[in-house]
Amino acid sequence: MGLEAARFVLAAREQLGELLGVDSSSLIFTKNTTEALNLALFGSLGPGSRVVTGAMEHNSVLRPLEALRGRGVDVEVLPAPGGELDLELLEEALKKRTTMVVLSHVSNVTGAVLPLAQAGKLAQDAGALFLADVAQSLGYLPLNLSELPVDLAAFPGHKGLLGPMGTGGLYVRPGVELEPLLYGGTGSFSDSLSQPQVMPDRFEAGTPNLPGIMGLGAAAKFIQERGQEIHRSALLLGQKFREQVADLPQITVYSPEQVAVPVVSVNFGQEASEEVATILSEFFRVAVRGGLHCAPLAHRTLGTGSQGAVRFSFGYGNTQKDLEGAIGAVQAICQKL
């Protein structure tokens, strides 16, 4: 029975490996991107280390780094003019000996795509590990990790991969040294009191989330078979939405003109974004996310530190009718301002 369950886990890992272009043994299952990021950060940084990140990052990076700062890690957060990554600033920061650079591929606030390959190359050329947070891009953008200058990559199961919530993983490039976050039984080397070195056992102590992992494997297979085409419709809806609401004088748009992932963040005059989000839900049945999106520095960068923003995200199941409903709701709210 246990062996049969392990076969399902292997099948899911191989499916994901194929999708990401990497060996399945280099993939660790976690409960979400946050856990994967924590494993990568706490597993490679300690007193005397130095890490460089950016102001557009999510709290899943910023909060572990704040905790690590308290443990003697030198943390530099690069400003992000206009919500973009400035490669010259990164290059300057890397003149100091740096252990790791951690950056997201796509902003969860604006949907802007950061130059992952260039940033990774700068980091590796400077002798630093490059950790990519691909939470917003995996499934939406082509991502062959073996062809990118990436040492570690954290990802969720439930976003672009369409898998179950509560699943995720971390890619660890072969040769990268990392300390585990969890220690315990792995079903291997059971006569030893030390955590095994072998991948992926080293980082997967305890009973795995079998139903979640099986769901994630099925999702990866679905994406692999159909390709990024499955998100084309959502991208078109996002692009049309952006174009139409940008013309309304009461609306401020924070997302790039060309929508690369189907996320469009806006504000309605000076109205509190959480209030608008609840109105959209209660009175128009349009589900959005208001507030700071767990990215306080990104919002300060955009000048929305107190207002937050209303983020519209189009997905695989959305239709033209949903788009029209969302635009109609935006127009109706604007009329009341």
């Binding site: 109205e271 509190a272 109105i279 009341k336």
Partner: protein, 83 residues
């Protein structure tokens, strides 16, 4: 009049319980509804300094009962505001 009030057509005075997290907000909603308080999750109006973007609206006449219930249930909250 707030944007929310324009849609909700609320003109009478309301009381708003602000909890410390989504867990405590939803726990409070359950406890209040089970005890006959007319409670509803609504957005916290701009201007109220809080870490939680949603609160529980209820009739001000039930404030004493609400205070007793949340104290008894150990619900972490930031305060009750009259709007």
């Amino acid at each position: 009049m707030s944007l929310w009030d324009k849609f909700a057509n609320t003109s009478t005075q309301r009381a708003l319980l602000i909890c410390s997290s989504t867990h405590h907000l939803l726990l409070a909603e359950k406890v209040l509804l089970e005890n006959g308080v007319t409670a509803k999750v609504v957005p916290v109006p701009g201007g109220l300094v809080t870490h939680c973007s949603s609160g529980l609206e209820f009739p001000p006449s039930q404030e004493a009962q609400v205070r007793e219930l949340i104290a008894k249930s150990g619900i972490a909250h930031e305060g009750i505001h009259l709007l």
